[in-house]
Symmetry: C2
Subunit: 426 residues, 2 copies
């Protein structure tokens, strides 16, 4: 099926800026609260939020087989369950409705009033109810950097790392959308040279620059997903900030992995950019350094060229870019991750979220966490206001951005913007 | 509020066996499919399944503030959200309805027909939609045994273990109720002495004898639950078999913990026994061997005396008891686990499940896994049919049982019974 929504020549009758993340070729999906306090599923073109519930009620999707209330929901889970064929039909139809040449909605002022909002009139929600959240650890540069700091250069990359897309389970309940503040957590730490742990607010709060993909009901318990079919079950991606408390992590993570160091919050960008929209940005991934087992061997290109940036803004201060990375640096791609996750029969559901792990490049300015950027605090970063950061300070805002670019088209993710509030009193 | 449903003198007008796990003092909650193919929330007395949806429609709960459809649901999540006061009122009311002295339902044959099923007429379902599943590692004996085998005696118990109720996130999607078969998983392993991993069905499938507690909407993101308030947010417990593939686990678990070795399946008993029903069996826990941080220090008794048993039944063979343990052996109790889990502000929701970790005692016949019982296969177990087991064979059924006992009252959990099917062809 051709993905006509991606046609680079298409223009919209909506007034959009040429450098928007959301041209008519993007058409992401999200959930928002309208000015009338109604929750609806929507899409975005330029700075317009588009109410898909209203569009559907007004008959704009009548050629597509959809239940009446599919967009009148507070999560995308049911729509995602409808499968890739339906996502494509809907996305193509939206592109048609907003195409410059199509007068149907453009000339209907009454309909436009029900359907169109400006972005400042809506409040973005979590786009899915996350059933299970898995976090991978698929950037070789990140695993090597962290391994070196936590276990020394000799044991940096574990023997399994080049054979397994290492992953672990995370906490879904504390995933919040961009714009929701998070709190500095309390926890146990073991200070250097001490023999008794202490309890207090974490002193080493970090971001992790990640992306996450959202799956559909991909398989039933017991049935693996082959690596070359994996993309059929991926709805789209978001930016993902896997907040981490490095001092808590160091003390707790042996032998079962990070727990409270991670589960106090993870932040995501609210618009899910579909895998379909990202097709023009497919690229080859890094060459395997060791032969991979057959269930992880794939055909064709499975990596995506997505530029990633991290900014820090102190309270009342301007944003400073602190890192520039790219999703294509990942050693293990999403297809390999999903094939590995299900090779034992583990079942994946609509709305499940799978984080990439921190995405670091090979140069020091491309590292995806403060831990790596400042090398555990040894090399502080200077911000535009003259202050320095080893980790994240109270009331700092961390902003992740991501976009693809080819010729004149830019497909972006908007922002994942989160302010770190001081710890509560205990 | 007195928990009158626990009155040991109370008798029921239903015909029940004296050694049932489900006397009128138990009154657990579950979800079942009736002979009419209707899903309902119910309870159990003796071998009767009781349709609470029908009881409510017929007006038996009219003194309690409940929404009309609270029991006409396919999970207990909304009922659990109603909170402890409501759970108690409903449980006490059920005890009244089935009290020997109460003729209201006993003498109403038409109502009885709508409300009462025998257990063989219903099909038990998963009682909750599990939002997040966390597994703790709270038995000192188990942690010591496994640590000795995986890392040697010197590093058996990690330095953090006596300070932290160590836990990690698990997979909720693959939690299944008793009676659902599970498949031997495929996966990567690194055979002893080799340098390249191999791919095949796991050769070392194990059970883990655990219990799990189910929470209500306990807190909002950012707000910890104090240790002495934790039990207010615990609805009840089930038996929990945390299936494990030891060979996959050994190769994958460093540094982020077990993943595919665990997430192919976990099995639970279908009736949630309320924490209220277990109050008579509260006991003091093990004395801390190291001083615990104040947020983990609790008042009163927080452990529970629950006898636990594991049986293995080969195909067409009889059950052999292979382990006898007790929930009271846990070094860290549920209150400490929940306080720890939320001390960083992590939010807990209705239907979340928290496993205890494998519950081993101090003697070799009280170990809660084959790994420990056979000491990694070095000391095989003999079954009643004369066969031997190092781990679990294809078509073996593993049965967990659990019960409390005092005077003439036995409060039990029924069974968690799961057959291991052979690996699929790949």
């Amino acid at each position: 099926m051709p993905i006509t929504a991606n046609d680079p020549k298409r223009k919209t009758w909506l007034d959009t800026s040429p450098d928007t993340d959301f041209p008519i070729q993007n058409i992401p999906f999200g959930v928002f609260l309208t000015r009338d306090d109604i929750i609806t599923i929507g899409t975005r073109i330029g700075d317009y939020a588009i109410d898909l519930g209203a569009l559907h009620q007004l008959g704009y999707f009548k050629e597509i087989e959809l239940t009446d209330d599919i967009f009148l929901q507070d999560t995308l889970n049911d729509f995602i369950s409808d499968g890739r064929k339906t996502w494509r039909l809907v996305r193509n139809r939206i592109a048609d409705i907003f195409d410059k040449e199509n007068p149907q909605l453009r000339e209907n002022e009454d309909h436009r009033k029900h359907i169109l909002f400006t972005m400042d009139e809506v409040e973005m929600q979590l786009p899915v109810q996350v059933g299970d959240y898995t976090d991978f650890y698929s950037s070789k540069e990140h695993a090597t950097n962290v391994g070196t700091m936590f276990r020394g250069k000799e044991n940096a990359l574990m023997p399994n790392w080049l054979h397994i897309p290492v992953g672990y389970h995370g906490r879904s309940s504390s995933i919040v959308p961009s714009g929701i503040n998070v709190r500095r957590p309390w926890g146990q730490t073991m200070p250097e040279g001490e023999t008794e742990p202490v309890f207090g607010p974490s002193k080493l709060i970090d971001f992790e620059l990640e992306m996450a993909f959202i799956t559909t009901d991909a398989n039933v318990l017991g049935e693996p997903i082959p690596v070359n079919e994996a993309e059929d079950h991926i709805f789209g991606l978001v930016l993902f900030n896997d907040w981490s408390a490095r001092d808590i992590q160091k003390w707790e993570y042996v032998p079962l992995g990070p727990f409270l160091a991670k589960n106090f919050a993870s932040s995501i960008s609210p618009w899910i950019v579909t895998l379909d929209a990202l097709q023009p940005y497919k690229v080859a991934g890094p060459k395997p350094e060791r032969e991979q087992l057959p269930y992880l061997q794939y055909k064709g290109k499975k990596s995506y060229d997505i530029n990633l940036e991290v900014y820090i803004a102190p309270e009342n201060g301007q944003e400073t870019k602190v890192a520039t990375s790219n999703f294509k640096y990942m050693y293990w791609n999403m297809s390999q991750q999903l094939a590995h996750h299900t090779v034992n029969g583990c079942n994946v559901n609509s709305g499940d979220m799978m984080g990439s792990g921190t995405i670091s490049g090979s140069t020091p300015d491309s590292f995806g966490s403060m831990l790596e950027l400042t090398w555990r605090g040894a090399k502080p970063i200077s911000l535009a206001d003259g202050s320095e950061r080893k980790f994240i300070n109270d009331n700092d805002t961390v902003i992740l951005k991501g976009y693809c670019k080819s010729d004149d088209i830019r497909i972006g993710f908007g922002e994942c913007r989160t302010k770190l509030l001081p710890a509560i009193k205990q």
